[in-house]
Each structure stands twice: as C-alpha cells, then as structure tokens.
C-alpha cells in the first residue's frame, strides 16, 4: 500500500499584514493625540476626586506659587471682543496695532498701566518676569477683566460662561490669593466657576465609595 504523504506545511505566518496594522494604529495614535500646550507657567494644581474633564476652550485664571495672577482668554472669537471692551471701558488708549498684538498674546499678566509700554517692546516679556494682574482689594484689575468678560457674554450665555470659567492655582499658593480671586468673581455676580484639579481616585471605604458601590 502506498503511504499517504502528508505535505509538510510551514509554520511561519506572514507578518506583513500584522505589521501594517500595528504601525497604522501607531500612526493614528500619534497623530490623534493632542499635545499639551507647553506650560509657560509652572503650576501644579491640587488633586480632587472630581471626574469631570476640564473643558478645552476656557477662560482660565492661573495663579502661581508667588501669588501672581494671569488670565488666558482662550482661542475663542470672543477674545477680541473682550479686549476691545476692556480697552474702551478702562480707557487704555491702545492703538489698533497694539490691540491686534494683544489679541495675539496667549495670556495677560500685566497691570493696565504697564500694558501699553509692554506691547511696544520688540520682544515679549517672559511670563516669569511679568507682574501679574493686580487683585488687591484696593486695586482689583481682575474684577475689571471679568466685567468685560461678562459684558461680552451677556445675554443668554451665562450658563455657557459658568462652564468655561476656570481657576487653576498652584498647590503651594497661599489662601489669600485664592480668596481675592473669589472676591473678583463675586464683584461681577459670578457665583459659579470651576477649579482645575488633578484627577484622583475615590478612597476605598469612604462614604462616596460606599454610595457608588450601593448604586451598582
């Protein structure tokens, strides 16, 4: 009887297709991830158990460890309106060129009286050398900025505004700075805003943890 020959098959699999998929995914992830904008202001926010993600387009008030306050108006179309509004309401007397330059800067960290001269410098002042926006009880310029913000957002957008108003502060900053920022909000009748924090897990065994478990 003739032996039935079983053809030997190679065990090597063609990897090309798999390789293609792997690199396709890799390329996708690299291109799809949004790079964090480079942090010009070194700020480490405190942590909280809140799990809501911070919105991207926001009006962000940052305060550093030394207590300097900076304002970022986001990349919204409203940024121009806000700057125009503050220019007229506080009579800053900025020329159209200066206004255009101000609209291009990422964040504002100078008192009103230094704004005009800083815009005429050939080089931008590095954030570490900026004075910050004054928030003292006698000279609260942040409240003026926020007034312009509310003016621009006036009419129907109040809820929208509450969602994008963010305060980000350094953990080591002293409490009075935060208190003065809260006061500037209150002066403009804004009672709701958000605080940027680092996400943290709910501690096991705590009340919220047990409640969440009971719901499941």
């Amino acid at each position: 009887m003739p032996k039935v020959k079983i053809p030997r098959k190679s065990t090597t699999v063609d990897m090309t297709a798999m390789c293609d998929v792997a690199f396709l995914l890799l390329t996708f992830f690299i291109l799809a991830t949004k790079q964090k904008p480079p942090e010009v202001l070194a700020v480490t926010p405190p942590s909280s158990i809140s799990s809501k993600a911070a919105p991207d387009k926001s009006i962000l008030i940052t305060f550093t460890q030394e207590g300097k306050v900076f304002l970022m108006l986001g990349d919204d179309t409203k940024k121009g309106d806000i700057i125009d509004n503050i220019n007229s309401s506080k009579a800053l007397g900025l020329s159209p060129q200066e206004l255009a330059k101000l609209k291009k800067t990422e964040f504002i960290g100078l008192p009103f009286n230094k704004l005009k001269s800083a815009l005429n410098l050939s080089q931008e002042i590095p954030p570490a050398k900026m004075d910050g926006i004054p928030v003292d009880s006698t000279n609260n310029e942040l409240a003026d900025w926020l007034r312009s913000v509310t003016n621009v957002y006036a009419g129907g957008d109040q809820k929208e505004l509450e969602k994008i108003l963010l305060v980000k502060g350094d953990s080591k900053a002293l409490y009075p700075v935060f208190k003065r920022i809260k006061e500037s909000f209150k002066k403009n009748d804004i009672f709701k805003f958000r605080i940027v924090t680092n996400g943290e897990d709910v501690p096991i065994g705590s009340e919220v943890y047990n409640e969440a478990k009971a719901e499941k």
């Binding site: 990897m15 090309t16 909280s48 502060g169 080591k172 409490y175 700075v177 009340e207």
Partner: protein, 181 residues
C-alpha cells in the same frame, strides 16, 4: 506580500552557466510587529493618564441680611492653618472651655471626624464651617472641600466663612505651642 520573484523568469540557462543559489528575500517581521505594538501600548497608556479635571465651585451671595442660622449642636468648625494642620471645634467657642474645645488634627484624621459628626447629627442640623487662615495654602482649601465630597456631605451643609480674630489667635497660639513652621 514582501516577496520578490527571484526565480529568474523561468527560462533555461545555457550549459555551463552555474545556477546561482536562490536566496529568499523574506524578512522576519516579528520583531517589527513587537516593536509596533509596544509603542502603541506605550502611547495609549501615557495619553489617558494625565487628565486634568474640573471641580465645581459654588459661592454664596454675600448678603448680610440673609445670614444663615446654624444650630450649635450641629455645627463643626474646621480651621486650616500653617503646615497642613487642621484645627476644629464643635458648636460655638466658649472662653471657659476653650482648651477642651479647640483641638488640632491633620488631613488624614479629619475624614473620620467628619464622618463621625455626620452620623451623630440629624441631617437638617448638620453644618460644617470651613475657615482658612491666611497662612494656609490653596491646596488645603481645595482638599477640605474635597473631603466634604469624599464624605458625601450634601451641598449646602458646608460653607466657607472668613476667620475671626479669636480663631486666628487660637491658631497662632497652638502653632507656637506645637512649634509648627
């Protein structure tokens, strides 16, 4: 596929022409795939990790005519001081029993105290009053609000209030006694 035909078209070579050895052009792609997936895993993990979150803040309207009255039995005042120290007392401070009332603790132990108070008090009377000293940090005031949500204290049962001179003095005295810098 990643192969090239190296058979030379199949036509016969003349006599005397040595047949060159056929070399496969197939490359082992396994390490490349490994590397690809390793990088994917790396990117997936690193991108989802650092997500900054936002905590909601609701501030009350400052209205001197609408001061909320709090029952003494249900009130717990939490004071934040220098060096991540926490001080607390129940009810109202009484000059006669000041040393018994005013106690100091830290962020680790305050959670249990908050929960204990919550369990011992009818929910309608419960009120936590948070006061931050000017030497406490921003992180402290956020942490204590976070403690409130960790202990599931319903909103409206805790509030931030300005510190009084007496309390400021008490904190200073305690800090001096415990040599906290």
């Amino acid at each position: 596929m990643a192969e090239l035909d190296t058979s030379g078209g199949g036509h016969k070579k003349g006599p005397g022409v040595k047949k060159s050895k056929k070399l496969s052009t197939r490359v082992d792609l396994t390490p490349m795939v490994d590397l690809g997936f390793l990088l994917i895993t790396f990117f997936v993990f690193t991108t989802t990790m650092s997500q900054s979150t936002a905590m909601n803040m609701n501030e009350p309207k400052d209205d001197p005519e609408q001061q909320m009255k709090v029952k003494q039995s249900g009130a717990m005042t939490i004071l934040l001081g220098k060096g991540n120290q926490v001080y607390y007392y129940y009810g109202e401070i009484d000059p006669a029993t000041i040393s018994d009332q005013f106690k100091s603790t830290n962020f680790k132990n305050i959670r249990q105290l908050i929960v204990d108070k919550k369990k011992a008090t009818p929910i309608g009377d419960l009120m936590y009053i948070i006061k931050s000293d000017s030497t406490s940090t921003f992180a402290n005031s956020i942490d204590i609000l976070d403690e409130m949500s960790i202990s599931a204290v319903p909103p409206g049962h805790y509030a931030e209030v300005d510190i009084s001179p007496t309390e400021k003095m008490l904190i200073n005295e305690t800090e001096k006694a415990n040599s906290i810098k």
